[in-house]
Structure formats: C-alpha cells, structure tokens
C-alpha cells in the first residue's frame, strides 16, 4: 500500500531533496494515488463529459456554452447559486466563529457539549434535515402554528432562496467550527505570550496573532461550505427551489435525458466555480508561513471566564444549540409520531416505526458502518499521502494530484454515479454481479467524493508541523520510519481523526451517487433506506426512525473519535512536558 512509501523522502537529507529528483518510493506512491484518481474520478467523469460536449456526430463543440449564457434563466440560476453559497458561508460563520472562540479560548463548562453537538448537523442527511425543518420552521410548521396562535404572525424562514440559506447554514456550519477550532487549539501559547509580552491585549491580540494564525482553518472550512452549498442538490430540491444551478443541471439530466448537453455544461460551470473558490482560498494563504515550531502547548491558553462572560457565552450557546437541534428534535418526534399533520406536535406516539425498520431492514445500518468506515480509512491514507507528496517532496507534477483529488468536490454525485455506471458496468465480479453496482464501488465512490475533506484536513495538519521538527529528529539519528511514526503522525493525529470523522460522517449521508449506484436493498446504506422510506405516507415515520438511528450512530462514532484524539493529545502533552 501507498502508506509504506511515506517515510522515504522525509528521511532524505535536506540537500538531496533540493535537487529535481524523486525517489522510487515517491514515484510509486504518486502513481498509485494517480491510478486510483484516474480510474474512479477522471475516467468516469471524462466519459460523461465527452458524451455531452460532442454533437451528434462526435465532433467537439462549444455551442452549448453560448446557449447557456444566452438563457436568462441559467444566468439567474447562476447568480442565485452564488448568492446562496455566499450567504450560507456568512450565516454559518456567524454561528461557528463565536462557538469556536468560546470553546478554544476559554475554560467553558459546556465545551464538550458544543464540540459534540456541533457535529450533529453533519450526520443528518440534508434531505431529512430539510423535511424536519419544514415540520419545525415551515410555513405551517410547529413554530409558525404557535406564533400564529399566540401573536398572529408568521415567519417565512423556509421560503425561497433564504430558506435554502437557512437550512444550508445550519447543516454546514460545523465545517467551519471544526476546522477553525482545530486551528485555534493548535496555535502555540508561545505565540500568544510573545504578543502579550509586546503589549498586545484583547482585540489587538486577537486581530494580530490569533485570527491570522487561525486563518488557514477558517478558510479551509469556509471554502468547503461555499463549494458544498454551491453544488448541493438535495436541499434546494426538497425546498422546491429550482432556479439554482445544481437543480437546473439535475433537472436537465434526469428529465430531458442523458443526451441533453445543457446538464453537462452546468456541470462544467459548477466545477469551474468550485475550483475558483478553493483556489481563491489557497491564493489568500500563499506566501505566508503558518507553521509553528513548538507543539504540544495544548493550544491557546484557556482562560477563566468572568461571570458576565460566562452568562454571555451561555446566552449564545444555548439558543444556537436549540436551533441546531431543531431538525433533530423534529425528526425524533416524527419517528415516534402516529400522525403529525397541521399541528404543533404529533397526535400520538408509538415505537412501531423503530420495530418496523429493525425487523425489516437491519442491513442498512451495518452496510453504512462498513462502507463509510472503509471509505474514511481510504481517505485518510490517500489524504496523508497526497498532502505529504505536495508539502514535503519536490516530485514533479505533485500539485496535479492535489488538484485532481480536490476536483472531486466539484463533481456532482449524480454525474460521478452515471460515469461509474458507464465505465464499469461491463466489469463482472466473480459472483456474476457487475462491479459498478457492487458495494465495493459504492465504497470507492464515497472515498472519492469525501477525499477532498480528508485531504484538506491532512494538509492543514501537516502544514502546522514545522519541517524543522522532522529535520531535528533526523539529526538526532531517527530513521525515516521512526521520524514518521514518532514525530509526524502523532503531531497530525488530531487532524487525521478529524479527517476520518468528516469523511465517515458525510459519506454516511451521501445520497445523490448512492441513488444511482445502490441497486439492491440488501446492499444499500442508510441514506438510501431513508430516502426510499420517505417516499410514502406510511413510510415517513419509518424513514425518520432510520434517520434517528443514523444520527445516533454517527454521533456515537464522532464522540468516540473526539475522545481518542483528546486523550492522545493529553498523553503527548505530558510526555513532552517531561522531556526537555
């Protein structure tokens, strides 16, 4: 496997790496990653795009792009998508930044609560989240029915583009929260103390030391949110907003047909904008060195809060958490409800939906654990390999790997799914089923689609490990493998756990590619099961029950991963504290 390739270059003397050469191990690692990306990303998408960008006789043509920009609906959709993505980042930041600061900078009694609950929106499949939010915040949801009763007013929270912004911001703000608080807790206390010694206090300290050092994490999170929202299909569709780019592409591909070029033109535009957004974030960070020499200080000094600060913090945290939990509460009620129609609360409660799903479809849960766990592992391995090749070697063309892997972000799941079907349906497994529709392919597709998250997290983690630490280890006589296992990986552990959890949790709620590729109930994951159940009046409760199970499972996994990372960090802190 490619991991074995890791130690090779880090162990090489600094001078040798300045030369324009690459060790065979580096080349092998790069080729393995490249082969994976070519086979499961470039070729499938390329086949779909090729089919779309040619006219009837197979000649290349650009006329479809002209059509796109001549059509006012598409131009408007384009602007709407930009607006929704931008506003979602803004609203998500309003939620995430204060939470991250409270958790990382202060001794706040509710910190564990914030970190765990902050991940919960991610485990809620967006379409289930939208269903639940309609029930709670919709035009005749619980909130509005109560408001109408009490005050005779109605809040149009879920209407049109702003409804999409509301749902997306609540769903994706954890990306910013997790990346930012990882960044914040990695900031060396020494930096802050240096600033304080020079006389910086309060806001100045925040502005000149903390925020710039936390910028990589914030931008990584914010650009992810932007791209995810820009590409997202399920949420606008469920809220019946069609004048955005992704829904337009989906509508064209699925209603006009696979031969219709416009869907693919939009696909390309989605790809381009997403790459621009990610590239813009990278550009902002270029030319700055964010790495810190000392590690293990346990992050910024966490200070005691005054009573007023604590009250203020609770006053922000509690309403935010209620807002974040509203869809979960909604889905929990729905999973227990007999009938819930035009009333603030269900008519009655029952456990029948849970017994239905546990009796009829236990495989949804085990499949999800298996596929998404494997996909998360693949992602961590690939992400570390690529990050290492990009940051620590001078392999020619290594940036191409990074760009290829990141391009997965901009490929709508539907397009990737159809491409995979086209490319691999002919390949038969020994038992006679097609590779394209087997669970192996589903796992690979999850890995490809979630690789960008893992890669960003691994890159951010590696960026913060100063190279001099590795050089120091080598100078002290540590071998390549020892340097990797004793220095680099432990220093990255928190980032890698975050990478795994992000990949796992988001893969567990992936739907668009799943719908194309999952062909059998027995092989299908949770998200598919929820979707299938949700399509019928009697299945709404059962679908919600599966949703609750999904949320609980991923929440438990996340909690465990957080605990592990935290314990590991404390252990290292202790060791380092005694070492010098």
């Amino acid at each position: 496997m490619s991991t074995t390739a890791l130690p090779a270059a880090t162990g090489r003397p600094w001078r040798a790496r300045l030369r324009f050469d690459a060790s065979p191990v580096q080349v092998a690692a790069a080729l393995l990653v490249l082969a994976f990306l070519l086979a499961f990303l470039v070729v499938p998408v390329g086949r779909v795009f090729l089919a779309a960008f040619t006219d009837g006789e197979g000649r290349l043509t650009l006329v479809h792009f002209g059509d796109f920009f001549r059509t006012s609906l598409f131009r408007e959709s384009f602007l709407n998508s930009l607006y929704v993505a931008g506003m979602s980042v803004a609203v998500a930041s309003v939620l995430a930044v204060p939470l991250a600061v409270i958790v990382s900078r202060f001794r706040f009694p509710g910190a564990a609560l914030v970190s765990t609950l902050g991940v919960l929106p991610l485990v809620m499949p967006p379409f289930v989240g939208a269903v639940a939010m309609q029930l709670v915040f919709g035009r005749n949801g619980s909130l509005n029915l109560l408001l109408m009763d009490w005050f005779g007013v109605r809040l149009e929270l879920m209407d049109g583009l702003n409804g999409v912004v509301f749902v997306q911001a609540l769903h994706y703000f954890p990306f910013i929260l997790m990346n930012l608080s990882a960044s914040l807790s990695n900031i060396d206390t020494a930096m802050e103390e240096a600033g304080q010694n020079l006389g910086a206090r309060g806001f100045t300290l925040m502005r000149t030391i903390v925020l710039p050092l936390a910028l990589p994490g914030y931008l990584a999170g914010a650009s992810l949110v932007f791209v995810k929202v820009f590409d997202d299909l399920a949420t606008p569709l469920l809220l019946n907003v069609t004048n955005m780019l992704a829904p337009q592409a989906y509508l064209r591909v699925t209603s006009v047909g696979l031969g219709d070029p416009m869907g693919y033109v939009i696909g390309v535009i989605l790809v381009v904008v997403s790459i621009l957004a990610m590239g813009g974030a990278a550009l902002l960070l270029r030319g700055r060195d964010y790495s810190m020499q000392q590690r293990g200080g346990g992050g910024l000094g966490r200070r005691e809060m005054s009573a007023g600060q604590r009250a203020l913090a609770w006053a922000f945290v509690v309403p935010t958490l209620l807002l974040v939990l509203a869809p979960h509460i909604g889905i929990a009620l729905l999973s227990l409800a007999t009938v819930w129609s035009f009333s603030p609360l269900p008519d009655g409660y029952t456990l029948a939906h849970f017994s239905t799903v546990l009796r009829e479809t236990p495989q949804f849960l085990t499949n999800t654990l298996l596929y998404c766990g494997l996909a998360g592992l693949i992602d961590v391995v690939l992400g570390v390999t690529i990050a290492w090749l990009v940051l620590r070697t001078r392999l020619p063309g290594r940036r191409v790997l990074d760009m290829l892997a990141m391009a997965a972000l901009a490929v709508p799941g539907l397009v990737l799914g159809i491409g995979i079907l086209r490319s691999y349906f002919g390949v038969q497994l020994p038992d006679g089923t097609a590779l394209a529709t087997s669970w192996i392919m589903l796992t690979i597709v999850y890995a490809v689609r979630r690789l960008p998250y893992a890669l960003r997290a691994a890159t951010a983690a590696l960026q913060q490990v100063h190279r001099s630490l590795e050089e120091a280890a080598e100078n002290m006589g540590a071998g390549k493998v020892t340097t990797l296992t004793h220095i680099v990986i432990p220093l990255m552990a928190g980032g890698l756990a975050a990478a795994f959890v992000t990949s796992f949790a988001t893969a567990a709620v992936e739907l668009s590619a799943t719908l194309v590729l999952a062909t059998r109930d027995v092989d299908a994951p949770l998200s598919y099961g929820i979707y299938v159940f949700m399509q019928s009046p009697a299945g709404r409760g059962a679908g919600a029950a599966l949703g609750v199970i999904a949320v609980l499972t991923v929440a438990v996994c996340t909690f465990a991963a957080n605990r592990l990372a935290e314990r590991e960090r404390r252990r290292r802190t202790r060791q380092q504290g005694t070492a010098p």
Binding site: G56, D67, F68, R70, T71, S72, L73, V131, Q134, L135, G138, R139, N140, G141, G160, L237, L238, N240, T242, N243, P247, L251, T254, S255, V256, G257, L258, G259, D260, M262, T338, V339, W340, S341, F342, S343, E360, I418, L421, R422, F425, G426, Q428, A434, T437, L515, V516, T519, R520, D521, V522, V532, F533, M534, Q535, S536, P537, A538, G539, R540
Partner: protein
C-alpha cells in the same frame, strides 16, 4: 389463445410454435423459478412490500430484490445497464413504458390475461403488442387536508375550476410535469379536456394560487399530509393511501380526469425470465389483485370481481361510468408534444412562479376593489391584465408542429434537427416575465382607478 398466437408471431414455424407454446406453458409454470428476481420500480416500499411478501410466500425458492428509482431515472438505468439489466420494470406512467418499448428494452413474455377487460375508461388495459401489462388503474384529482381547510375556513374543491377561487391563494400545490409522469398526464388531460388555449388559461389562473411547484411527485402529498399547504393536485392512490395511514385528508375526482393503467413489464435480456413471468402473472391473478386493496396500497384493480372486496366508498370505474369518461385521451396528441409541454409548463409556471403569483395577487386585489366601486376604466385595465396572464405563447398547431415540438425530443441521430430548444425556451421565458410584469402594473393601475 388468440393472444398466445399473437405473441408467438416471431417464432419460426407458426403452427409448431403455437403448439409448443400450448404444451410447454403449463410445464414452464411448474419449472423451478430462478432464485433471484430483480424489480426496478418507481413505487414506494408501502406498495411493493405487500406484493413481494405475498409472492415470496407462494414461491419460497425465489428472493425478490426491489430497486427503487424515479421513473425517469429507472428508464435511464435500464438503458445504461443493457448488458445485465433488472428483470422487471414496474411503474405508473404508461409513456415511460412506451419509450422503453421504442428502445427495444422490453421483452414479450406470455401472460394469461383472461378475465381482465381489454379497456378501462377510454384506455386499453395492456400494450397491444403484449410488451407491458396494466395491473391497476389510477385517476387524477385533488387531495386536501381537512384540518387545514377548516383552520383556514376554505371551501372543499370539487372541480379544477374551483381552484381558481382567490380564496385558495397560496394553498395549492402541484409537482412539475417534467419531473412527474403522473402530473404530466394530469396536465395533458386538462388540456385535452378543456382545449389547448382554455386549458392553459385555466392552468395559469390556478397557478396563481400555487404555494409551490414540487420536483417530486411525492412532495405534494407529503406537503398536504403535513399541512404545509392545504390542497394538492395528485394521482388518486396518494390520497387514498395517506387517508388509510390515518392522515386527515380526502381525495376527489373532478369530471375532467382520465383513468390510466399502471404497468409492469419484463425487461429484454432478463436473467430470470421464469420468475419474472410468474411475478407478472401473480400481479394479474385474483389473489394479486386483492393486494391492491391493502390500506397502504389502495389502487383501483383491473379485475372487476375484486371490487366486491373493496371497502365502502371505494370508487369502481366498472360501475361508475362517469369516472374518466368525459375525456377521450388521445395518446398520439400527447406523445407529439410531450417534451414541449414539460418545457412550456416549467418556463411559464415552475421557474416564474413568484412573478406569476404576485401578478395574480394584484389582479385579485384589484377585483376586490372594483367589486365595491364601479369604474369602467378599472374593468378595462383588469381585463387586459387577465388577458396577459392567461395567454399561452404557443398555439396548439405550433405545439403539434414537428418543426417546433421536434426540437424538444431527446436527441437521436435519425431525426433531423429543428429550431433549437434553448432559443425557444429563452423566448418563452422572456414572454412570460414581460407579460406577468405588465399584468401586475395593469392590475395596480386598475386598483388605483377604482
């Protein structure tokens, strides 16, 4: 017997073939079914599970796997997976079966359809070539949430025209015909029943009351069930099954409706032909037909005798001759403008719903104001506003013209290219935006004049 002979037309020696069919048919029925049967369907689990369970009980050796997809996605899937397809395709919209038949994707299994009438309402029950079979019929109408109507003091609608009532502003939902085969049929039925221009005028006025245009067929009953809006334009079983699940909803058939069979077909290249045939046969058998009356399924059976077991108040198209009889549904007309109609509806209504409903709101407000005063100038302005809001930018002849409608067909190499789709769509979109803006201004002037 005649049907058997017909379906064997392609065999080498006709008489020999027929004889072989007769002698081997019972033998084949006895022959062991394959262990695995894959069904691709647009039906929800509620519908498929009772049938699958009943079938597996009868044939314990066969495990049925259900793949759930929207109709359009299912057609695309079968096309993409030609080398190793699913065994059965099971869905509502007959036009999807027609598309698959044209694409040579459907096999021609021998199915005994004795005891099932050849036509129901104005529609043939089965494909004339024997490539797909109707197992249930469905009509279109309105479902409404009784709690919602009571809370908002709204009258119960009976006919499509009732939905024009300004009282329903923001209370009606529909799915887009381009996304839902069943809605497409509803729209086509209204247009054929009322005529192209009056039909569009009615649709555009009803659309003034739309709360939203959903992209999934199920989005509409879901919203009515949960009370997001009060009235949905849906296929009958959505209403019946929701009611049977305990939701406070009711369903009505307007007189302009049509009964359309929901179908099943064996896919060409099926790996389990015996099991596939047995499943179709089971679906059409008296025992299979009774499953349709399961509270979670609630569809109209194609066997007249099954209705004897139906609950009270269950509609019976074999007895109630008025049901679906008013519209003589013309498949040829529908097919010629199928893609055009989808696109036109989206340009005029789905994508411009906000502009359209705002304009109608202004018209309704002006009408209310004019009812109190009596300004000739106001009436004149209002009439102009209405004319702009109810005009469809395409004539019936244009919609049937292959040169125009042809641009909207999925591209095929053997068909000459017409004027390009994007260009026409852009024209319609501009026309719609301009007309709705003008109408709104006219209505506001009318209100000031009152």
């Amino acid at each position: 017997m005649q049907r058997l002979l017909m379906t064997r037309r392609g065999a080498l020696g006709m008489a020999a073939g027929a004889a072989a069919a007769v002698s081997s048919a019972p033998a084949r029925a006895q022959a062991a079914l394959e262990p695995r049967l894959v069904i691709i369907t647009s039906f929800s689990r509620d519908v498929t599970t009772p049938f699958v369970q009943a079938f597996e009980q009868r044939h314990p050796g066969t495990k049925v796997e259900v793949q759930n997809r929207s109709t359009t996605a299912a057609v695309a899937f079968v096309r993409e997976t030609r080398s190793s397809p699913p065994d059965l395709f099971w869905a509502s919209a007959p036009d999807a079966f027609e598309v698959m038949k044209q694409g040579n994707l459907l096999a021609r299994p021998q199915i005994d359809t004795a005891g099932i009438p050849a036509t129901i309402g104005a529609q043939p029950t089965h494909d004339a070539e024997g490539r797909y079979f109707g197992f249930a019929v469905s009509g279109y109408g309105m479902m409404y949430n009784t709690r919602y109507l009571r809370a908002n003091r709204l009258p119960v609608p009976k006919e499509w025209a009732d939905l024009k009532n300004p009282a329903y502003q923001g209370h009606v939902g529909i799915s887009s015909p381009s996304r839902s085969g069943t809605t497409h049929l509803t729209i086509e039925t209204i247009l054929q029943g009322e005529g192209w221009e009056p039909g569009w005028a009615q649709l555009l006025e009803i659309a003034g009351n739309f709360a939203q245009v959903s992209d999934r067929s199920f989005g509409v009953p879901d919203a009515v069930n949960s009370g997001q809006y009060g009235i949905g334009i849906v296929i009958d079983f959505f209403g019946f099954s929701a009611k049977a699940s305990g939701f406070p909803v009711e369903f009505v058939y307007p007189t302009v409706t049509t009964l359309v069979p929901a179908n099943i077909a064996m896919i060409e290249g099926s790996k389990s032909p015996n099991a596939a045939r047995a499943f179709i046969q089971f679906l059409l058998s008296p025992a299979g037909q009774e499953v349709l009356l399961d509270p979670k399924v609630m569809r109209l059976p194609v066997r007249p005798e099954t209705y004897a077991k139906a609950p009270a108040g269950f509609p019976n198209p074999f007895r109630d001759q008025s049901l679906g009889a008013r519209v003589k549904f013309d498949n040829g007309v529908s097919e010629a403008r199928y893609e055009l109609l989808n696109s036109l509806f989206d340009r005029l209504i789905t994508f411009r719903l906000r502009e359209l409903t705002e304009a109608w709101k202004a018209v309704h407000a002006a009408e209310a104001a004019l009812a109190r005063s009596n300004s000739a100038q106001g009436r004149e302005l209002l009439a102009q506003a209405r004319a702009r809001l109810t005009r469809v930018p395409v004539t019936e002849a244009q919609a049937a013209d292959p040169a125009i409608a042809g641009a909207f067909q999925p591209a095929r190499p053997d068909r000459p290219a017409g004027p390009r789709q994007a260009q026409l769509e852009e024209e319609w979109d501009r026309a719609a935006v301009a007309a709705y803006a003008e109408a709104r201004q006219l209505a506001e002037r009318a209100q000031r004049a009152s």
